[in-house]
């Protein structure tokens, strides 16, 4: 029972957008529109779900004074500070402190964390990027042509000769390969979604037997 009802619900709610797609009658569309707008709200509740787990595990770490507990304090403090001003809001939209903390803390932290990848990708390329066989050579040449064909200095070096080759690589062989990947991945995703709607795939409901 505790499993059957959710499975029936998944089937009904999952089938509705498909039904609405093929039957664009006013009544059907209205219900579908309500479903869409309600799901905006449900998604707003659903997405911070992980926060609960993270907070509980970090509070446990602080309680037990585990190794690195100080960093858990930093994490919880950052979370509380940001969430407090976020929930409080301002007279006109976001609280000024919320916007300030975003600009001066969240933004540089996120941007710098991602910018580290520049170093790693360069280091990895330096060590691994070698023409070991025909396929690797094709990859290497495509990467170089695309890079030189896309930057102004590449135009200067090659007199603009690589730009059309690079454009051809992107719009023909690359687009063909990406199209193959898109179709293949879409077929895989669609089959998984059909399994979920039909109740064959149930892992999202958890492993409990009841």
């Amino acid at each position: 029972m505790r499993r059957t009802i959710p499975l029936i619900l998944t089937f009904c709610v999952g089938m509705y957008p498909i039904f609405a797609f093929f039957v664009p009658h006013r009544v059907v569309t209205n219900i579908n529109q309500n479903l869409d707008t309600y799901l905006v709200i449900v998604a707003a509740f659903a997405l911070p779900l992980g926060v609960v787990n993270l907070v509980m595990s970090n509070i446990n770490k602080i309680k037990k004074k585990d190794k690195g507990w100080f960093y858990s304090v930093v994490l919880i403090a950052g979370l509380c500070l940001m969430a407090f001003y976020g929930i409080m809001g301002g007279d006109q939209g976001f609280h000024a402190h919320f916007q300030w903390m975003f600009e001066n803390a969240v933004s540089p932290l996120q941007a710098t964390m991602f910018s580290l990848l520049a170093f790693y990708v360069a280091s990895a390329a330096y060590r691994a990027f070698r023409a070991r066989n025909v396929e690797a050579t094709v990859l290497l040449i495509a990467a170089i042509v695309v890079m030189l064909g896309r930057i102004p200095i590449g135009d200067m070096i090659t007199g603009g000769r690589l730009t059309p080759i690079s454009e051809w690589l992107m719009t023909k062989p690359n687009a063909a390969a990406q199209r193959g990947i898109i179709i293949g991945a879409a077929l895989g995703a669609a089959s998984m979604q059909i399994r979920v709607i039909l109740g064959i795939e149930q892992t999202y409901l958890g492993s409990g037997k009841d």
């Binding site: 960093y71 950052g78 979370l79 910018s115």
Partner: protein, 214 residues
């Protein structure tokens, strides 16, 4: 407060940037401090925007301002479903969370199914299966596209061993994939370097230069 004429926000910004970059030398307490702060503030930020931009305007305000008008009382349904998701943390009623989860997953699965079948497969296939009557070089390029798409799909067909004709076609698929991965790699390098330059540009132009020029 503005030490050396630089706003305090810029100092904090620069300090946190250097804390993260310090990891390149080796793991250290400054990096771990910044990393934990990043995780905490990102989640706090997320709670903030969810509340301010979705829950308040779409749920709380309509219900508080005019509960019975404009069918706002129906908003109780998504609110209950949303709250039910958190029942998973209360052992006795944890199973009720599955009902909310079923609606949430069911909806996105249905939407995504149409998005993939209609928006991806049909549109991409329609543009691949085209008559070769346009003549000239475009017809040749369309053959390239058809060969590329078909051979890549064959490469991803795992229900039979890639031997004989199947093996040869899938090998052509590998070549197409390698060109595409090479292009992706080239683009990725350029993208990552541009992110790094964004941070360096901040450090040099917003923090150091104004400090030197006073």
């Amino acid at each position: 407060m503005a030490p050396f004429g630089i706003p305090i926000g810029v100092w904090i910004n620069a300090f946190l940037t250097i804390c993260i970059l310090s990891f390149l030398y080796k793991d250290n307490p400054f990096f771990r401090f910044a990393e934990s702060l990043f995780a905490g503030m990102s989640l706090g930020y997320y709670i903030g925007i969810v509340t301010e931009n979705t829950l308040k305007p779409n749920l709380f305000r309509p219900m508080i301002n005019d509960f019975w008008g404009n069918h706002n009382f129906l908003l109780v349904i998504p609110m209950i479903l949303g709250v039910m998701l958190y029942f998973r943390y209360i052992r006795k009623i944890a199973w009720l969370a599955r009902i909310a989860l079923a609606v949430y997953i069911g909806y996105y699965v249905g939407v995504y199914l149409m998005q993939k079948l209609h928006g991806d497969i049909l549109f991409q296939a329609r543009d691949t299966i085209v008559p070769l009557t346009m003549g000239g070089i475009e017809a040749v390029w369309n053959v390239v596209i058809i060969v590329g798409v078909f051979s890549v799909l064959v490469y991803f067909y795992f229900s039979a061993e890639h031997k004989g004709a199947l093996g040869r076609v899938s090998r052509v698929g590998i070549w197409f994939l390698m060109i595409s991965f090479g292009a992706s790699f080239g683009y990725t390098i350029m993208a990552r370097i541009s992110l790094l330059m964004g941070r360096f540009s901040f450090l040099v132009n917003t923090w150091v230069r104004p400090m030197i020029s006073g």
